[in-house]
């Protein structure tokens, strides 16, 4: 009987050891609205993330604030903590997350919109893909060159033969 008990006790040890993997909640303890962001994968040489919340400002958009000496290890977890929403808040926010390498070059990017309101807590999972195309949209492109017409018509004189 005692041997059986001992075997149970010994058997519980690895179970206790293996069954208690804790994933920290970045928003734990924050009383206001907060988004717990988990970046599951992305470029290998990521040293910092540049996080932008559209329409919101941040004193330190980089996390970690100090650049580490080694690349970050995925998954990356951080919290986006909001102050109280004002009347301009429309109930959702858009996050833009960019991965920076050791030279501060953007190596990956992801964007997501989250519906959130006062004091809500949300969890967001992202995967950093290739940076978005930095080309301007077509409607913002430069106007076509105002060169002379190919046929060399003199606009002042009007069409020939008129």
């Amino acid at each position: 009987m005692t041997r059986r008990w001992l075997s149970w006790a010994v058997g519980l040890l690895p179970l206790a050891w293996a069954g208690c993997i804790v994933t920290p909640d970045p928003c734990a303890g924050y009383p206001l609205a907060c988004i717990a962001v988990t970046v599951e994968s992305g470029p290998r040489d990521t040293y910092q993330l540049l996080v932008t919340v559209l329409g919101f400002s941040s004193t330190t958009p980089l996390t970690p604030r100090q650049r580490p000496t080694e690349p970050l290890v995925y998954p990356l977890r951080f919290a986006v903590r909001f102050s109280e929403f004002d009347h301009r808040h429309r109930g959702q926010v858009t996050l833009d997350v960019r991965a920076l390498d050791a030279d501060n070059e953007v190596r990956g990017q992801a964007r997501a919109t989250v519906a959130i309101d006062n004091m809500e807590k949300h969890h967001l999972r992202l995967t950093l893909g290739t940076p978005f195309d930095m080309a301007l949209p077509l409607d913002q492109a430069s106007p076509p060159d105002l060169q002379e017409p190919p046929d060399g018509t003199d606009l002042a004189q009007g069409p020939a033969g008129d």
């Binding site: 519980l12 208690c20 998954p75 990356l76 909001f82 102050s83």
Partner: protein
């Protein structure tokens, strides 16, 4: 001693079946298998006649053997008388005195003539001063025990032995009982002496242990009564409590792999 009275007596014993039968004790032991009472009586008579013939020829030892055989067949007091005379004739006065004493004790007064009785008494009185008597009993506190008495390695019977006739001189008295050491004592008896021996029996060393009733094998002790059981249970409880406490306190928690970055505080 003249042989004439012996022969006469032998003939009396052998040829007086009625008298002999009358002298038989009421509780005569049964005869051997296949012998009826009449056959036993006839065989006794024949043995006595043969003994008489042997005595007449001077073969006393043979006559004693015949008489002893006849007495074993029928313990008749008349045979004790004849044996007493034969023993005395054969130089065995102690046995003669014992036989005559048995005769006097067992002979029915009406069945034996007074002269015969007087003669037996006379013979016994003549023998007694030349002999010694030995009594053997067990020591106080052991009276109820069964033991056997041997004198000079001859079995006399169970204790107590009272007034056993012995010739004067050294004798070895031995008292034996199961599981006990033999009580052995040497006595030197003188004529006319009456010696009493009290035998104290002591258990044999090897038998002493055997006398102790064998103890039943100890009943198996339940496991919860073993000293180590509750120790193990207590230890297990302490370990379990420590595990539970450590688990509750997060001692076994492991942080998930990955990087935990600084939070970002944003505002309008």
């Amino acid at each position: 001693m003249s042989r004439g009275p012996v022969l006469i007596l032998l003939l009396w014993a052998g040829l007086a079946p009625r008298a002999s039968q009358a002298e038989l004790p009421a509780s005569s032991p049964p005869v051997g298998p296949g012998h009826t009472e009449a056959a036993a009586r006839e065989q006794t008579r024949r043995l006595v006649r043969e003994a008489a013939q042997l005595m007449d020829r001077g073969e006393v030892a043979g006559a004693v053997a015949k008489l002893e055989q006849a007495r074993r067949l029928r313990p008749d007091p008349s045979l004790d008388y004849n044996l007493g005379i034969a023993y005395a004739e054969g130089g065995r006065p102690a046995e003669a005195a014992a036989a005559l004493e048995r005769f006097l004790a067992g002979a029915a007064p009406g069945a034996v003539s007074q002269d015969r009785l007087e003669e037996a008494r006379g013979r016994l009185r003549a023998l007694a001063p030349t002999l010694a008597r030995l009594s053997v009993r067990l020591a106080p506190g052991q009276e109820g025990r069964s033991a056997s008495v041997l004198v000079d390695n001859r079995l006399l019977g169970p204790v107590p032995v009272v007034g056993h006739w012995l010739v004067p001189g050294p004798h070895e008295v031995r008292v034996t009982a199961p599981q006990m050491r033999d009580f052995i004592v040497s006595v030197v008896l003188t004529a006319g002496e009456e010696r009493s021996v009290s035998a104290l029996l002591v258990p044999r060393p090897d038998a002493a242990a055997a006398l102790i009733p064998p103890q039943a094998p100890p009943a198996p002790v339940p496991v919860y009564r073993r000293w180590w059981f509750w120790t193990a249970v207590s230890g297990g409880a302490v370990v379990a409590a420590a595990l539970i406490g450590a688990g509750a306190a997060g001692g076994f928690n492991r942080r998930a792999p990955g990087s935990d970055l600084d939070p970002l505080d944003v505002a309008r």
